[in-house]
């Protein structure tokens, strides 16, 4: 762990704060759930590049971007596990299956896509079912709207941004000292 990783953690929170707030304000469905959440790119690409630091940032920054967008404090706090898993799973899949962040082969694309799918599905189930239902904010009948809203909003934004970001910037990132091959260094 070096100073650069602490700096990367802070900068990722900063980027996520701005980019996530843009998605939360521009395409809101309600309670911090969005039709198109741009923050997912910072969350998942950050985890793949910077391991544990990216995952930490991915778990923390939505708390702030949601706050700015008017999501109540404790609802945002309830989303932390969902956001942590969304950041963690693609990072874990890339390390477990030794995929290349530069997306050199079809296998790398497939691993990214499947890990995004599972991670976003977990987030989409956790947040409406556990958090929003837990706070009594939704009826059982309206849950599918929020489950699909969360899943679709993250999946579409992930497909639009994650592949291009990884393809365009990974060759640069892996040459910097900030790149984390394992989890913390």
């Amino acid at each position: 762990m070096g100073v650069i990783h602490i700096v990367i953690l802070a900068l990722l929170i900063g980027i996520g704060f701005v980019v996530g707030a843009f998605g939360s304000i521009s395409f809101p469905l309600g309670f911090g759930v969005n039709f198109f959440w741009t923050g997912i790119a910072v969350q998942q690409v950050g985890g793949i590049w910077f391991g544990g630091w990216g995952v930490l940032a991915g778990a923390i920054f939505p708390f702030f971007s949601n706050a700015i967008a008017g999501t109540p404090f404790y609802v945002s706090l309830g989303y932390v596990p969902a956001n942590a898993v969304q950041a963690f799973l693609p990072a874990w899949a890339f390390r477990r299956f030794k995929a290349d962040p530069r997306l050199k082969s079809g296998r790398d694309y497939l691993i990214l896509f499947l890990s995004m799918l599972v991670a976003n599905a977990f987030g989409a189930l956790w947040s409406p079912l556990v958090v929003l239902r837990g706070f009594g904010l939704l009826t059982t009948e309206s849950l599918p709207l929020f489950v699909w809203g969360w899943f679709g909003g993250n999946m579409i934004a992930g497909i639009v941004f994650n592949f291009i970001l990884l393809k365009a910037l990974s060759p640069v990132v892996i040459r910097t000292p900030a790149f984390v091959k394992r989890w913390w260094a």
């Binding site: 900063g14 967008a69 999501t71 109540p72 404790y74 009826t139 910037l169």
Partner: protein, 286 residues
């Protein structure tokens, strides 16, 4: 004027007589209040009190306008989710039929209860953000003795957010200068082209991370090892003392919360059965 996280507050504002920890404590505790209150009129009263505190703090109340679309969209979604998407329940009382879909009294009531719970929670957050500077949050974190590295990361993240916003403007202007214009283009086009901002933003941040690191290392900062264990002077805290009125405010917030819990669970106050608003609405609708 002092720049806060959501706008500007005059330097003479009484809010600056309050220790930053008290503001953070207010956010953490008062955000919990609506969860224990079902009667909408009490939550509405809390909302009015928070707005009153914003006026006393001389916050430019126009800042609330940013959140009006959020409040309206949230209200509409809650109402639609409870009424139109609320399903069919023969055991409920039908108020009217909307295109053959029964709209139930119980669903309208529940939607209003939820909506009036959410509004003061949002207002508490807006009050905190519109009266707190970045420095206030750091002071509050240092006051509760959070580790230096946590406070430092948080401070740097807040600073980074400001820089990313500046970078975003620079990138946008640079792309506009090269003829990139999304005016009149469909939303899908704008979304696709948003990546043109994301790549430079990430690239700029990566470059900045190296500049930041070099600056920190040159100043002898370390977050692990022997150097990190050196006791640091909390210079910023010397500017903020916890005065007697801060103790009083903290005690009032704590006692109010305890009183709320006792009233709710000991005496069954703040429930729907005692709500005059709900009784009045029932007499109007049903």
């Amino acid at each position: 004027m002092n720049k806060t996280m959501l706008g500007y507050v005059p330097k003479e504002s009484p809010i600056y007589a309050v220790h930053p920890f008290v503001k953070l404590y207010f956010l953490l505790i008062v955000s919990l209040f609506p969860m224990f209150v079902a009667a909408p009129e009490w939550n509405f009263l809390l909302l009015v009190i928070i707005l009153g505190l914003m006026v006393i703090s001389r916050v430019d109340i126009r800042i609330v306008r940013i959140y009006i679309p959020v409040a309206i969209s949230m209200g509409s979604i809650i109402l639609i989710s409870y009424t139109i998407l609320g399903g069919r329940h023969p055991e409920f009382q039908v108020v009217f039929n909307l295109f053959g879909l029964p709209i139930y009294w119980e669903r309208i009531r529940d939607a209003l209860v939820v909506y009036f719970r959410i509004l003061p929670m949002i207002a508490t957050m807006v009050f905190f953000l519109s009266t707190s500077r970045e420095r206030d949050i750091i002071v509050a974190m240092r006051t509760i003795r959070l580790p230096f590295v946590v406070t430092y990361v948080f401070a740097m993240a807040l600073r980074a957010a400001g820089m990313v916003l500046e970078d975003f403007q620079i990138v946008r202007q640079a792309e506009q200068a090269r003829g990139f214009d999304t005016t009149g283009k469909p939303l899908t086009y704008k979304i696709r082209k948003y990546i043109m901002y994301m790549i430079p933003l990430f690239a700029l941040s990566l470059r900045r991370s190296e500049e930041f690191t070099n600056a920190l290392v040159a100043r002898g900062y370390a977050f692990t090892g022997e150097a990190s264990r050196v006791k640091r002077a909390d210079y910023i805290l010397t500017h903020y003392t916890f005065k007697p009125h801060d103790f009083v405010f903290t005690a009032i917030i704590t006692l109010a919360f305890i009183a709320l819990l006792v009233a709710r669970y000991g005496f069954n106050y703040f429930g729907l059965d005692d709500s005059w608003f709900i009784r009045w609405l029932y007499s109007v609708l049903v």
